[in-house]
């Protein structure tokens, strides 16, 4: 067990834990909205496009997290616009965008000969979180948390019935935009934790697990945060003990917790 005590004194583990928890705390409530509003596919589209953001960042010499944040925000705006004047169903549109953006990202990485570990982008690289990453994550998750806190009632009203909310004076389009931008920000910081392919899992699974335990929207959001944090701790532990990849281990832990929650009558 000296190995473990040595590990516990290593900075990278605490950085990894802090990064994972920061993301899990805000992805709980945001994931609830993704579940309530059936936005899983939407999250996927934003996440899969993150690779494009990275290649753009590489070309323009921008820090990857910032580049992904910016490109996701632009894509979110574009999607809001497309959603309003859609001819195709939104599912189809998102399906086309999600996968073609991912393919484009991978092709760009190889064409531009970007020296990067594709696996770590796709599946996360939690154990390599830097101080700079951590600061960005702190800023982004604080922003998301503050926005959620301020807009909470309006977000709920908007989610239950958009037109009713609009008649009652909620600025529906602004709320929609805020939700999209929060999601884009989350994706930028969650990429480091679980990777592009698994972000939606971190968003949806804890929220879906929390549904069984909650009687109010706030309870569901809180439980989702807690379950997400627990999944991060368990996944990280597994990763350290058995040398499994951290991102997928966290998602597996979340899925395990989901199954446990389903046992509750």
């Amino acid at each position: 067990m000296t190995d473990l005590s040595q590990l516990l004194h290593s900075q990278f583990l605490w950085y990894a834990l802090a990064a994972g928890l920061l993301v899990a705390v805000v992805s709980g409530p945001l994931g609830c909205f993704a579940v309530w509003r059936r936005m899983a596919y939407f999250g996927d589209t934003l996440a899969h496009s993150a690779l494009m953001g990275i290649t753009l960042g590489f070309v323009l010499h921008i820090q990857p997290t910032l580049a992904v944040g910016a490109s996701s925000c632009i894509l979110a705006l574009l999607l809001v616009y497309l959603q309003r004047r859609q001819k195709l169903s939104i599912d189809t549109l998102l399906g086309i965008l999600a996968h073609s953006m991912l393919a484009l990202g991978i092709v760009m990485v190889s064409l531009l000969k970007i020296k990067t570990d594709l696996m770590s982008l796709l599946l996360g690289d939690l154990l390599a979180v830097s101080t700079q990453d951590l600061v960005l994550m702190l800023v982004a998750s604080t922003t998301i948390g503050a926005l959620l806190f301020i807009l909470w009632q309006k977000l709920l009203s908007f989610t239950l019935h958009e037109e009713l909310a609009a008649v009652e004076g909620v600025a529906v389009e602004k709320i929609r935009l805020a939700l999209m931008l929060m999601l884009a920000l989350l994706i930028a910081i969650a990429m480091k934790v679980v990777g592009i392919l698994l972000i939606t899992a971190l968003l949806i699974i804890p929220a879906a697990s929390a549904r069984k335990l909650a009687r109010t929207p706030e309870q569901m959001a809180t439980f989702a945060s807690l379950l997400g944090c627990l999944a991060v701790v368990l996944g990280l532990l597994a990763s350290v003990l058995w040398d499994t990849p951290a991102g997928p281990s966290i998602v597996l832990a979340a899925a395990g917790l989901f199954l446990l929650c389903q046992l509750r009558p």
Binding site: V35, W36, L160, A208
Partner: protein, 278 residues
């Protein structure tokens, strides 16, 4: 342009001199080249109950959405009284079972200072306060939506088919409740219904629309209007059953005239409405 338009002069001159709460001037809406509504003009006066009726697809809900400012007209315009407080009862609220929320909490989302108990009691839904919204039946949900609308003390109450999911015996009760609420809140009411018969007693004015304004006026007047009769037929109010065909031993109707499906019976001049009142 349309032969059926009667009462093109606004009625408000004879009713009231005060400013209308909502008015529409030559309202038109075109979606993807299709004219959904055109040239609709009317004004809603304070404390007036106006019912919009029309066959399915006539644009009733669309008209409400235009008047509420949820969509913009492609021609004409809507004027709403400045600072008008609205209460809105949408056609249905499809609450996703993934969101856990109680009726009480749902009401508080509409207005924070609401006394949920008295509002729910007023619509006869006291027992629903602590229930989860997703567990409510269609009729219960309608009452809760009405409670949320009146909790805002609206000056204008807008209801889109308020009796959806309410059984026949409860429907006239709902309209009586709406009329009573108009008196208590001293508000105007604008509602959509597909059934003139039910709303007759509780409405001051009826707008009969089918893409355009076919006719308007007092319900008894409208029910005799040729434009109304052309849309709904004259057998709708009130329906008395006259058996005009025979059945064979297996229960199949013996058709005199070959008319498609279930509209085999009396309401042959009823092009769009199949449902018949008991």
């Amino acid at each position: 342009m349309h032969p059926f338009i009667l009462n093109r002069k606004p009625l408000e001159k004879t009713l009231n001199q005060t400013k209308p709460l909502v008015s529409a001037q030559h309202l038109g809406l075109e979606i993807a080249g299709r004219q959904v509504l055109h040239d609709i003009s009317f004004a809603l006066q304070p404390e007036e109950i106006v019912t919009v009726i029309g066959p399915n697809g006539a644009g009733k809900t669309t008209l409400l959405r235009l008047l509420l400012g949820l969509i913009r007209p492609t021609s004409g315009r809507v004027e709403r009284h400045t600072g008008l407080r609205l209460g809105y009862v949408p056609q249905r609220l499809q609450i996703d079972a993934t969101m856990p929320i109680s009726t009480e909490r749902f009401l508080q989302l509409g207005s924070t200072a609401v006394d949920t108990h008295s509002v729910l009691a007023r619509v006869g839904a006291s027992k629903l306060a602590s229930m989860q919204l997703a567990e409510l039946s269609g009729g219960e949900m309608q009452r809760v939506l009405l409670a949320r609308a009146i909790s805002r003390k609206p000056q204008l109450l807008v209801l889109d088919e308020p009796t959806q999911g309410v059984d026949i015996s409860g429907q006239s009760e709902v309209y009586q409740l709406i009329a009573a609420l108009r008196d208590e809140l001293a508000c105007s009411v604008l509602l959509v219904s597909h059934d003139l018969h039910l709303v007759m007693a509780a409405t001051d004015r009826v707008l009969c629309i089918n893409q355009h304004l076919c006719c308007q006026g007092h319900p008894s007047q409208v029910s005799r209007d040729p434009a109304y009769l052309a849309l709904f037929g004259d057998k709708v109010v009130p329906y008395s059953h006259q058996h005009n065909h025979e059945h064979n031993l297996r229960g199949e109707p013996l058709a005199k005239k070959q008319i498609a499906g279930d509209s085999l019976q009396n309401h042959t001049n009823d092009p769009s409405k199949k449902s018949v009142n008991k």
